[in-house]
Amino acid sequence: MNTPLDRAEPLIAPGHSACVGCGEVLGARLCLDAAGKDVIVTGATGCLEITTSRYPESSWRVPWIHSLFENTAAVAAGIEAALKALGRQDEAKVIAHGGDGATADIGLQALSGMLERGHDVLYICFDNEAYMNTGVQRSSLTPVGARTMTTPPGRQSWGEVIPKKNMPAIVAAHGVPYVAVASVGYPQDLQKKMKKALAVRGPKYLQVHVPCPLGWAFDTSLTIKLAQLAVQTALYPLYELENGTVTEVRKVGRRLPVEEYLKPQGRFRHLLRPGAEKELALIQALADANAQRFGYPPLSSVTVNK
């Protein structure tokens, strides 16, 4: 039922105020273009909302509503209920989007309610691994070792110490039929998952890894490269969970050591100085565990280019 992709007119129009190299707005554009025009979208407070909807302008070429930071899933449930009650359920697919903070922290309760009640809603979490809109504070999806404004490295700290919350597993535990992890580093894979998700009736969840040049402190030309490195190091494996079981894992040609991913990012710079070997080893161990779980090839030894 979706209209074919019109390359000349992405459904998120240019002219928004996202930073150069913003992974989040790119991810949103890819998702929406895969979904097509026949959608109603609701978004949480956060960078994506702010950069695309300054009155009197809007980048959204589809019907879109922003309410608050933590209620996106509930607003989506209301939209879906209204479409049903009005006999308009064939008119549009309902999509909710939120950042990692909106999804895994403050909006987790509303999300859980929406999932548990089985609304026909696709929830997309754009994971840039911190509260970027308020100036880079940690969220429960901030990875171990990362520097944020509220997990600063200091004389007694190496940055974030709590491992990233396993949101896909939490969502799957609600009995959600389709859960997928995707990345802007792999656009076709992302769009394939979007389409697959939208073909499923009931709640579905897509978590998209979206590098943030400002918050992670990397060169704006590296967004895609870093997104790919996160996958290649097994720090951010891409997979699908259908009815709770892993059905697909995105294959990587060779697995890279985590330093490859950490090195270009200012948020991990303190880990690459002498003295941080233990912390670095911990991050490699997290990647190794992922690699084992998702069947990655053994670690390639690469020559580090200076």
Partner: protein, 403 residues
């Protein structure tokens, strides 16, 4: 009392119903597309009744059983933005949790109708009635109508939809009814038929709504050069509501044969020297007390505030013209301040020949306000009461009765 004012035709529909049931019966006849609520005493019976109606196939609403009041209001928000008529109900802590969303609903100009079964706020935990909850969201842009009895509560819901959905208003409307005192009391009420309600309340015609057929963005943010204007427009909509509330009440009278609306009600105010001002079910006790005091020769009357937001400044000023003393009875407290309702009353009287206005904090956390309490208030007022008095305060409880 209610019976006497009925047209004989509507006597046919009269039943003895619990207040919550009466509200559920009329909400059903308003045909909301989406209902979403979260249980909290004393609101529960309203939504339980509605759930049963849906379960029995009497009501074709989507009933969304959410995990919190924040989500209940958010579901209504999303549904209203999609073009649906919506309903929710809550109390106390639930309204506090909803408050963020209520501001948002009002700012988005969505005509959600909700009931507040008035209950105080914790701590100390108390499930009993006062008006602290409604008054907490005074400034959100939610129209607030206070009901005196079950009939009025029921009738106000029908009028609430008409008011909220008027394209000149498009604001949420909250019908406030005293928890337990009204929600759990059985009174004779006339429940209109579906046909009668349909004839009064047309289907909801949204001005804007979310659809791929005509994409629009809602809930965009704005810079300081535009924000004030949005609030100004909301304020103007409230001013329109000020004129529409009495008109809708008149219209309601034509359809249903009773007047249960309007901004204020004046009771025995002709030649009154002393006036009580109050909201909600307490008004009935005041009316009885006024009758007794009148018999004893006191020139006393009552101004009942039905519309609290928008506040009927002009009507209140007119009603209190020439009165010497006013006792504002507050079922809420601004801790560290002086009277919440009294502030509105005083400001309505500013710049005029002003009566003495006393603020009386009474009935908090469900304490009864009796005729004796009201007589005490009268006496204090005549003695020249201080700025703010606490009615039936028991100082021995806090070991402060000696000195």
């Amino acid at each position: 009392m209610v019976v006497l004012s009925q047209k004989s035709a509507s006597l046919l529909h009269m039943e003895v119903l619990e207040g919550s049931r009466a509200v559920a019966e009329v909400v059903k006849r308003c045909r909301p597309h989406v209902i979403s609520a979260y249980p909290i005493t004393p609101q529960t019976h309203i939504v339980e009744n509605l759930a049963q109606m849906v379960a029995d196939g009497e009501l074709a609403s989507e009933f969304v059983n959410v995990e919190s009041e924040h989500s209940a209001a958010s579901v209504c928000l999303g549904a209203a933005a999609t073009g649906a008529r919506t309903y929710t109900a809550t109390s106390s802590q639930g309204l506090a949790l909803m408050s963020e969303v209520l501001y948002n609903i009002a700012g988005l100009r969505l005509p959600v109708v909700l009931t507040c079964a008035n209950r105080t706020l914790s701590a100390p935990l108390s499930i009993w009635n006062d008006h602290q909850d409604s008054l907490m969201v005074r400034d959100a842009g939610v129209i607030q109508l206070f009901a005196e009895d079950c009939q009025e509560a029921a009738d106000m819901h029908i009028q609430a939809y008409k008011l909220a959905e008027d394209h000149r208003v498009l604001l949420p409307v909250m019908v406030a009814m005293d928890g337990f005192i009204l929600t759990h009391t059985f009174e004779p009420v006339t429940i209109p038929t579906q046909e009668e309600v349909d004839a009064f309340l047309p289907p909801y015609q949204p001005l804007h709504y979310l659809t791929p057929k005509a994409p629009l963005s809602m809930g965009t943010w704005c810079e300081p050069d535009k924000f004030l204007e949005v609030k100004y427009m909301m304020h103007q909509a409230m001013e329109v509501a000020l004129t529409l509330i009495p008109q809708i009440a008149e219209d309601f009278r034509r359809h249903f044969g009773r007047y249960s609306g309007g901004l204020i009600e004046e009771y025995r105010m002709d030649d009154a020297q002393t006036a009580f001002v109050a909201m909600g079910s307490l008004v009935t006790t005041i009316k009885d007390t006024v009758d007794e005091l009148r018999e004893e020769g006191h020139r006393v009357g009552l101004v009942k505030i039905r519309a609290y937001r928008p506040f009927p400044t002009q009507a209140v000023a007119r009603a209190l013209e020439g009165v010497e003393r006013v006792a504002v009875i507050e079922k809420a407290i601004s801790i560290g301040g002086v009277g919440i309702l009294a502030a509105d009353i005083k400001s309505a009287l500013y710049g005029r020949e002003r009566p003495m206005v006393g603020t009386f904090i009474a009935g908090l956390g469900g304490r009864d306000v009796t005729k004796d309490s009201l007589r005490w208030i009268m006496e204090r007022l005549e003695e020249g009461a201080t700025l703010q008095e606490f009615v039936d305060l028991n100082l021995s409880l806090i070991g402060d009765d000696e000195g």
